[in-house]
């Protein structure tokens, strides 16, 4: 199986460890991972902010870059949702792009989907002796229907204690440019999310999107009482217990 | 200047979608595998309606008991006389030529006894369609106490099956699910606003 990693722009610059974790887990499971270096960004920020014309070169670039792979994996529910949910609509009216999207989009998976649905793995042999709480990010939850796939993987991690998060399915208030355009509302949503994280007393807040974790983490680090650290679940799956 | 009608219809014609895909009808035509009587009784009780069981033979006695403390019993024109045979107090009939006044219906202690057309088990709903045993809409609205008789063979499982049994949709139709209620204060249900504050339902078997 030819698996390509789509790292996503945020992870590429800010969270290379998450990408390394994905590679490390897949290689540990005996797979080879390819990283097509022509990849850039999926275009979500442009498209969701109304700059469709500016997003289209990225859409085309993604399709050209990832055509021909059996599976494309990304450690971001949001970017995968952009590809699977929005690309088909954005491609309408351009037959070449429509067929390219029809080929690539259904094979683009969030990391947990690849592991659980495609590779049939729920225990990746990880060890992480810490308390964690899981925030299901909106696009993974409602557009990809990730359900409890990331949780299934986390439950199999040695030493890990999962603590339930109150109102877990409520948005953290990030929403891309929403956090800037409606900063007040976004901050109010974030405050409630941070409060819920604090209430768990967990050492880590875990999610499938580093953009949401940047938001939550940015809020937590402002709160004197908050101690939870943000971490992408892929990094937990890569951990074998030697370091956290 | 063209009329509003002409203008609106022209705009709708100009802007409507060319066509729409067919409507998928794979929802359930009825709710399968339930005891409609038991489910109706359960749902009515959940709405805090009074629920009583009867047979054709015991119905007059059950009704007489339910209206025992009423000042006046009001009945629609076609309510079978034998239903009220055991009622001790006065019974006021509402006839098309001589309708009961709203002021009289609004007096304290008035109970209205009606039949119903159909009931929906899973939603605990009684449907009245102004047939002679149900009468005008105002009868089941203004009195403070409504006693409604539903025969077990009038109960359908789900909404589609029940609506399909209505004889004429152009008659005045009222769906009643429990006593009058509001959710306007902190989105919690409170019974008893403008309709009858008490709803008693007699679920009766024909034999």
């Amino acid at each position: 199986m030819r698996i390509a990693l789509f790292i996503t722009c945020v992870n590429d610059l800010m969270y290379p460890d998450t990408g390394r974790a994905v590679v490390s887990v897949l290689e540990r499971l005996g797979h080879t991972v390819d990283f097509p270096e022509a990849q850039t960004c999926c275009g979500q920020m442009h498209a969701n902010s109304g700059y469709r014309a500016e997003a289209m070169p990225m859409v085309r670039g993604f399709v050209d870059t990832f055509r021909g792979y059996d599976a494309v994996v990304a450690p971001s529910g949001s970017c995968v949702a952009m590809v699977r949910d929005s690309y088909p609509r954005l491609a309408l009216g351009d037959p070449d792009l429509e067929s390219g999207v029809a080929e690539v989009a259904p094979r683009t998976y969030e990391f947990a989907e690849l592991l659980v649905d495609v590779l049939g793995v729920t225990d990746v042999g990880a060890v992480f002796p810490h308390t964690v709480t899981y925030h299901p990010t909106c696009h993974g939850l409602r557009m990809l229907r990730l359900g409890d796939k990331p949780l299934t993987l986390l439950r199999a991690v040695g030493g890990l204690e999962l603590r339930p998060l109150a109102s877990a399915e409520e948005c953290c208030g990030f929403g891309g440019t929403f956090a800037l355009k409606n900063a007040g509302v976004s901050a109010a949503m974030l405050a409630d999310k941070c409060g819920a994280v604090d209430a768990t007393g967990a050492e880590y807040v875990v999610a499938a999107d580093n953009s949401c974790l940047t938001h939550i983490g940015g809020g937590l680090s402002r709160r004197a009482a908050s101690t939870a650290k943000p971490i992408h679940y892929a990094e937990i799956l890569a951990s074998t217990g030697s370091a956290s | 200047m063209s009329s509003a009608r002409t203008e609106i219809l022209a705009r709708v014609r100009a802007h409507r979608p060319a066509s729409a895909p067919p409507v998928p009808r794979d929802y359930l035509p009825d709710v399968p595998g339930i005891d409609v009587v038991e489910v109706l009784v359960d749902r009515l009780a959940d709405y805090r309606a009074g629920v009583h069981r009867a047979s054709a033979a015991t119905l007059p006695g059950v009704l007489a008991g339910l209206v025992a403390t009423s000042s006046t019993v009001v009945a629609p024109p076609g309510l079978p006389a034998e239903w009220l045979a055991e009622v001790a107090g006065p019974v006021l009939r509402d006839f098309p030529g001589a309708p009961i006044s709203v002021a009289d219906l609004d007096r304290p202690g008035v109970t209205v006894v009606t039949g119903a057309a159909v009931a929906i088990a899973v939603t605990g709903t009684l449907i009245l369609d102004a047939a002679p045993d149900q009468g005008r809409r105002v009868l089941s609205l203004v009195p403070d106490h409504h006693v409604c008789v539903i025969w077990t063979d009038q109960i359908s499982g789900g909404v589609p099956a029940a609506l399909a049994r209505l004889a004429d949709p152009s008659r005045p139709i009222t769906l009643i699910s429990g006593p009058s209620a509001t959710s306007d204060i902190e989105l919690n249900r409170v019974e008893g606003v403008h309709g009858p504050r008490r709803l008693d339902v007699v679920v009766a078997a024909r034999s």
Binding site: E37, G218 | A20, G195
Partner: protein
């Protein structure tokens, strides 16, 4: 042609939201109420095995109606007229108000009783009647609370959702005739006070005004879905009934109600069925009003119909499930949206009905979390329409220079090319290197200050992913 009336925001959403966010009591009230209704809705929706099939059917029936709307409107008019109703048409809010005012003035009535109706809120009917010297009394409990408080509705279904029980008691004590200081904040006591207050009005009113949840083309039947029985009072007791109905409320046949009477109550109040639903067709001798009027209103609906993606907003059955699950609505309430249609549906409906003013800020009043689409009983893809409306707004201003556009254009130019993209990542990593010793950033200049006002920013690590990959 644009809609008019109470659907135009006067202030940009972020400004209006900021004011509401300062009201701690409001947020507490909204949080409690929306969380109560969320749980109830989930429970009763979970009981229905074919919920998704019903949602698909509901969406498709509404789409079919939009495709056949001219014929169905004509059919409705013909059926209703044959049944004894008088049908009127109104292009916008002003025309609708003018028609209703004329009809009321034509009777001897100087007072009317009203059933809660979004259409009459939308066109500003109460204000128009007042200007003509006619007193309109709202009879729905929440509408009454709002009316007594001289406030405006903040929710589609529960206009007084922003008040808690003790605030409602205070409003009744100070504004409701006949109420004494002994009134408690016990909800049954409050409901009883409203009952007593309105009873005399119901029994004496000669004109009732309503909206309609559904209008059946085949039979000319109107349907009103309600809870308290105030609707039944207004629809049954007066001699004259005037119903204001948006043209998108049409359903082809009576049997379509089998879908919507399952979807609407469970989605709105979280009940298996609402206490009362009334259906009437024209005039029935001896039962109910002797004269019935129906005012069919466009007010921006045909303009909305013209947009291929945006027209799905016309499927809306006003259940308000999207408001109740929306994290933005939960924090700011309905007034921040500046229209009688608040929340997610308002953010796509109001700008399409009016396409002017501060409504252009509404499509941005969402984090695109998608909870509204999941809850919508007629599958309106609200996030899709929000993004579409943002795009229309951006495209409409293509000619005008803006800092935001310049940023997006240059970012697109960088990101469409692997070399430019890799170079930009490298530059960002290097540029932040001198700051790295300080951990997270706490303050950035505008516009990023909107972020750092309440959140820190992490710095990029020493190596991008692609640099690591190239070296491994």
């Amino acid at each position: 042609m644009n809609g008019t009336g109470n659907i135009v925001a006067l202030r940009p959403f972020p400004d209006a939201a900021r004011l509401e966010l300062n009201d701690q009591q409001l947020r507490t009230n909204l949080r409690r109420a929306t969380h109560t209704i969320r749980d109830k809705r989930l429970r009763v929706v979970g009981e229905v095995d074919d919920w998704e099939a019903l949602r698909r059917a509901g969406a498709a029936i509404k789409d079919d109606v939009l495709a056949r709307l001219p014929e169905l409107l004509e059919r409705f008019e013909e059926s209703a007229t044959r049944a004894g109703a008088v049908v009127h048409w109104a292009r916008d809010a002003a025309e609708a108000c003018e028609i209703v005012t004329r009809l009321v003035t034509g009777t001897a009535a100087r007072e009317v009783v009203k059933v809660k109706s979004m259409a009459t809120q939308e066109i500003g009917l109460n204000e128009a009647l007042e200007a003509a010297g006619i007193e309109a009394t709202e009879t729905d409990l929440a509408e009454l609370i709002v009316q007594l408080a001289d406030d405006t509705p903040s929710h589609i279904l529960v206009p007084a959702i922003h008040y808690n029980r003790s605030q409602i008691r205070d409003i009744f004590r100070s504004r409701m005739p006949g109420v004494t200081d002994g009134l408690t904040d016990d909800p049954p006591a409050l409901a009883e006070a409203a009952r007593r207050h309105l009873r005399a009005k119901f029994l004496s009113a000669t004109v009732g005004i309503s909206g309609a949840n559904f209008a059946i083309a085949e039979t000319g039947t109107l349907v009103v879905v309600e809870s308290e029985g105030n609707g039944r009072m207004c629809l049954t007791l007066p001699e004259t009934l005037i119903s204001v109905v948006g043209i998108e409320k049409i359903l082809p046949t009576f049997s379509e109600l089998e879908v919507f009477l399952q979807l609407l109550p469970r989605s709105s109040t979280g009940e298996r069925m609402n206490p009362y639903t009334s259906m009437w067709t024209g005039v029935t001798p001896g039962d109910g009003p002797r004269t019935t009027h129906i005012v069919l209103v466009d007010n921006g609906r045909t303009a909305t119909l013209a947009d291929e993606i945006g027209r799905q907003a016309l499927r809306c059955i006003r259940c308000s499930a999207c408001l109740n699950v929306c994290p933005v609505y939960e924090r700011v309430g309905g007034h921040a949206y500046g229209s009688v249609y608040p929340g997610p549906i308002g953010a796509i409906l109001s700008p399409q009905l009016t396409s002017s003013g501060a409504n252009s800020t509404l499509p941005y009043a969402s984090s695109l979390c998608g909870a509204c689409f999941d809850a919508c009983p007629v599958r309106i893809n609200i996030p899709e329409v929000l993004v579409h409306l943002r795009q229309k707004g951006v495209d409409a201003k293509r000619g005008k220079p803006s800092a935001e556009r310049a940023a997006f254009v240059s970012l697109s130019w960088i990101m469409r090319d692997r070399r430019r993209y890799a170079a930009a990542l490298r530059a960002a990593r290097r540029g932040s290197a001198p700051l790295r010793g300080r951990g997270r950033l706490r303050r950035l200049p505008w516009p990023a200050s909107a972020w750092t006002d309440s959140r820190d920013v992490p710095l990029p690590p020493k190596q991008t992913f692609r640099e690591w990959w190239a070296k491994r």
